[in-house]
Symmetry: C2
Subunit: 419 residues, 2 copies
């Protein structure tokens, strides 16, 4: 079969399965998740065997140690996947909720019913646990899924796919509800993102390069997460202790995460009070610092920040620091150089915090809290399919709700429209 017909068949099957999933009961979906957990437990020895193949191929291909680590499955990680399935089963089912049912002058009632998106395509890199993660969240939200994992995880993903399939069949849900592509052909991605007749939305999970490429070529809506160039602004009316703790936490809790602070903005009137202590704390932790001229004047250890630095998500122990004249300058800087992901103000001034919340154009705006909180679990969603930097549809951390849509429903009793 050609790739074209293979992908068309996958798409048709997903669309057909999505119709059945849309009317599946919560109980049936939860039972499928538990059955998948059992099937994964049963497949554990084979999964580890197949993962060894992926790891060997990965080493032979010269993957770096970070990639190999993401690829690795061991008992603890398989435990985590099984736990994840059970946890998704425990989440409330978003589907079927009816809201805003209002009575209108014509005599009809209209409201909105929460429904699945339909078919979700997920494209991700070499972490096999994403297969379970994505499949379980899509299933719970009533969506059929087409999964395309990184070719490095091919053998592991096929075993996981089988376990998913066993779980679905055991509760009489169509096994095509979750399809893991069994090809590593790159063209498959190209086809997946250009089949609007079969795929309703694409969620790419991976590096910026992957996401950018997919967004550019897709003919299907993409829920995407690009940069997390997050800022903390320390106002001249900040509490110094809170400012110190928040800035330190936002940068140094973890360096490779999208909600880490990459740029620190400090009001000039408070810079001498807060920056020296922060600078030495950052240097103690091994954080490389670059800054504006005024910041550089405060320590010989601070290099110059280029225009490029202000735009950069380092994803590393590096930070740019800028001293600003007032909050307006901070907001303008954030809206210009930031990535509209997560930005925080530290201030005790009520009016300023209110204005900052309104004017900063980011998916999460924090007041006196670390940017680290921008996370689906911290927001109480119980799960996260990703963080969206889009403004359309889902913005910020995306839980189950982000995988749903709302359709209008109208109740009449023979009503017709006159004019």
């Amino acid at each position: 079969m050609s790739l074209e017909s293979y992908m068309n068949r996958i798409g048709q099957q997903a669309r057909a399965a999505s119709r059945l999933l849309a009317k599946a009961s919560t109980k049936q979906k939860n039972m499928a998740l538990f059955a998948m957990a059992d099937a994964l437990e049963n497949a554990r020895p084979r999964l580890i065997e197949e993962n060894v193949k992926d790891m060997e191929n990965g080493r032979a291909k010269g993957l770096d140690s970070a990639l190999l680590d993401r690829l690795l499955l061991n008992d603890a990680r398989i435990d985590g996947m099984i736990e994840g399935l059970k946890q998704v089963a425990s989440l409330p089912d978003p589907i079927g909720e009816i809201s805003n049912m209002v009575y209108l002058p014509s005599g009809i009632q209209r409201g909105q019913m929460r429904v699945p998106l339909g078919v979700v395509g997920i494209i991700y890199e070499s972490r096999p646990n994403v297969t379970i993660d994505a499949a379980s969240l899509c299933l719970k939200s009533g969506n059929a899924t087409i999964l395309r994992g990184g070719s490095e995880a091919f053998h592991s993903n096929q075993v996981i796919a089988e376990a998913i399939s066993v779980g679905l069949k055991s509760v009489n849900l169509p096994e095509e509800a979750v399809q893991v592509l069994n090809t590593t052909d790159r063209e498959a991605v190209g086809k997946l993102i250009t089949m609007p007749e079969y795929v309703d939305v694409i969620v790419p999970r991976g590096g910026r390069g992957l996401i950018q490429r997919i967004s550019e070529d897709a003919r299907v809506p993409v829920i995407k997460h690009l940069d997390g160039n997050c800022h903390v602004y320390i106002d001249d009316e900040a509490d110094l202790v809170k400012a110190f703790n928040i800035a330190l936490n936002a940068k140094t809790r973890r360096y490779g995460v999208c909600n880490a602070m990459e740029s620190l903005l400090v009001h000039k009137a408070i810079a001498r009070d807060v920056l020296p202590k922060l600078i030495s704390a950052f240097l103690d932790k091994g954080v490389e610092l670059v800054g504006c001229e005024a910041t550089q004047a405060m320590s010989a250890s601070i290099g110059p920040a280029s225009e490029e630095d202000w735009y950069t998500e380092y994803h590393a122990p590096k930070l740019s620091i800028k001293i600003v004249s007032d909050m307006d300058e901070a907001i303008a800087h954030i809206n210009k150089y930031g990535s509209h992901h997560t930005d925080a103000i530290v201030s005790q001034n009520y009016s300023k915090t209110r204005a900052f919340m309104t004017e900063v154009d980011s998916s999460s705006v924090m007041v006196n809290a670390s940017t680290s909180f921008a996370d689906g679990f911290e927001y109480g969603f119980g799960a996260e399919i990703g963080i969206s930097t889009d403004k359309i549809h889902a913005r910020g951390p995306v839980g189950l709700l982000g995988l749903t849509s709302q359709k209008y429903i109208v109740l009449g009793d023979g009503h017709t429209r006159d004019n």
Copy 2:
């Protein structure tokens, strides 16, 4: 100036204006709308003069009478535009609403604040009143707008643009909050839909061809309205009077609208009771009928429906009729051939209506009501920027809310994240 730099300047100005609009007060936005209404009143004689030019050019270019009618501005239509501005001023402002503020285990509160999308690009055909319509809805929802009207309405649109600008300036809002492109170069559209750095969403208003072209080429999210191939399904447990009235209304209220019924599905057990009367009513109104074999057997005036017919939005006094074995066949037909716009069931059976609402994958699903109700005004939005057939973001009739987004806000008091 090259088109490229002209469009970049327009984009930069829109982005800058959007920052100011996002923090404009409701009062300021409403005052701008009233000032625009006054300015339009003052410009009335000149607007009519310039519209005469457009009409003359249109006739010289050989536009058909329908297009010329849409292009025409007279006193009544200008009254309508002025009334529209005042009406948008009277709508509640969606911006700034904070909802779902929950207290989380970490001690933070997180919720969502409703915010403008930012910059909205609107591309439309030769109806100059859309200029006012689109500008007023975008302004009220705090968005900057870039408007590209059909070249046929160029002179009229420039006068309207001036009136808008006068209104904005009079309340100290940036006149770049609404920019009407002063070029008819087709390349301008190509540029407008590929500037994600300046434009957050595109709303095309016009024929299917325009919308399809824009969706394919856009690198910016598009809120689009494609076909309205709407169905009414008459169940075997339908009330015959309601069924007759609803089917007749859905088809014949107006033929050229997207919420008109294009296909009628009838349960075989009730076909002999309801179809003969409906068929003669349709024929009386001059509606051309095509149908499946069983339908054709009911009247010599019914032609055969081809596979293509089931997919077709006629936008005309023409209807396809199919007799189905049960509701499941009707739902499968709708989900396969329909355009996911608006579909209705007529039935007195509670369980069937509930299942139909869940299983029909359309932006509006009606129970015992005419498809004609699928409309922003009938839904109580007070205004409508269009009807979306997308599943992402806004689905169905789009009012002011569809031009907004929600960002997360987090309130802490020095909170940092431990793990």
